[in-house]
């Protein structure tokens, strides 16, 4: 299977997740334990009405989805994954009106656990808005 086919299948899989769809997430890149997903700005996701800044929870949802996608694309081919824990550090407020882009990397797997780091940016890619670290279950076939 070519990498374009694999990306297409993964995109359909991610975009079929109801909550990812509700937040209009789009898978941009995937493969080898790494994923990139974007989420457009949406007035309905605002957490602070005074500033128009997106709620941290929506950013969490994006990073969690991207982390799970990175785990599923690991070369060891897991059959399923679920989040064990996820910590997000909010470095600055995302600029209202701009999409948020997240890159997640599954940097290590054991027999049953995957470790993930993720970063999120708005249009200013020199200054991340948030970073995350998480542990996910790593379910292998036939176990």
């Amino acid at each position: 299977m070519s990498s374009a086919d694999r990306t297409q299948i993964a995109r359909q899989f991610i975009e079929a997740i109801p909550f990812a769809k509700a937040l209009s997430m789009t898978l941009q890149e995937i493969g080898e334990g790494r994923a990139v997903i974007t989420m457009p700005y949406n007035d309905a996701l605002v957490g602070d009405p005074e500033t128009g800044v997106i709620h941290g929870g929506a950013v969490s949802a994006l990073m969690d989805t991207c982390g799970g996608a990175a785990v599923m694309s690991h070369p060891d081919s897991p059959i399923a994954t679920a989040t064990i824990d996820l910590r997000i550090d909010y470095m600055r407020a995302a600029q209202p009106g701009q999409q948020i882009k997240t890159e997640a990397v599954c940097y290590h797997v054991t027999r049953a656990v995957a470790f993930v780091r993720a970063t999120a940016w708005d249009a200013d890619e020199a200054r991340p808005v948030a970073s995350a670290t998480g542990a996910f279950t790593f379910q292998r076939a036939g176990r």
Binding site: A16, I17, P18, F19, A20, K21, A22, L23, D43, A44, L45, V46, G47, D48, P49, E50, I54, H55, G56, G57, A58, S60, A61, L62, M63, D64, T65, G68, A82, T83, I84, D85, L86, R87, I88, D89, Y90, A93
Partner: protein, 166 residues
């Protein structure tokens, strides 16, 4: 505070304040989260809808919906606790005064204890430390059984600073 304020006056004031806090945040409406009050104790509800599912095969809640719900509960609790004394003393009018600025999340860690079932979820937050500048809040989330948490979270928040006087 007046010693014998009529109970309906007290309830109306508190419910109006709480209603304004939750109505002000679009994302709370987006998820359909509601908040119940007993005295100063708040319990948030995340109603189940097919849109918050993360695993269609299991109909399990999306981890991001759970994280959002717990973070909303933490922020509402903190804002509510900050307002309480002024509201009770009549220093702010719950109907017309501007809402206070909201605390900003510094970090938030969610511990997923078991998969979220396709039914309503509840959460309560406890402020473990609240200083002038920083606060630490713990949130517990459950579904059918109060003692069987499906998720818990701890977050640190930067408290809004009063406007400087210069």
């Amino acid at each position: 505070m007046k010693a014998h304020e009529p109970v309906n006056v007290i309830k109306t004031r508190r419910d109006a304040m709480l209603g304004r806090l939750t109505d002000a945040v679009p994302y709370i409406g987006f998820l359909g989260v509601t908040v119940d009050r007993r005295g100063d104790e708040l319990t948030a509800t995340l109603p189940f809808t097919p849109a918050i599912v993360g695993n269609p095969a299991l109909q399990a809640l999306h981890g991001g919906a759970t994280a959002s719900f717990l973070e909303i509960t933490a922020v509402i609790e903190l804002t509510w606790a900050t307002l309480w004394a002024d509201m009770e003393a009549g220093r702010i009018d719950p109907e017309s005064d501007a809402l206070p600025r909201m605390p900003k999340t510094i970090d938030f860690t969610v511990d997923y204890l078991r998969s979220g079932l396709p039914r309503d979820a509840y959460a309560r937050a406890r402020i473990n430390r609240s200083g002038r500048r920083y606060a630490s809040v713990h949130v517990e989330g459950w579904q059918d059984n109060r003692s069987r948490l499906f998720a818990q979270a701890t977050g640190h928040f930067l408290m809004p600073q009063p406007a400087s006087k210069d």
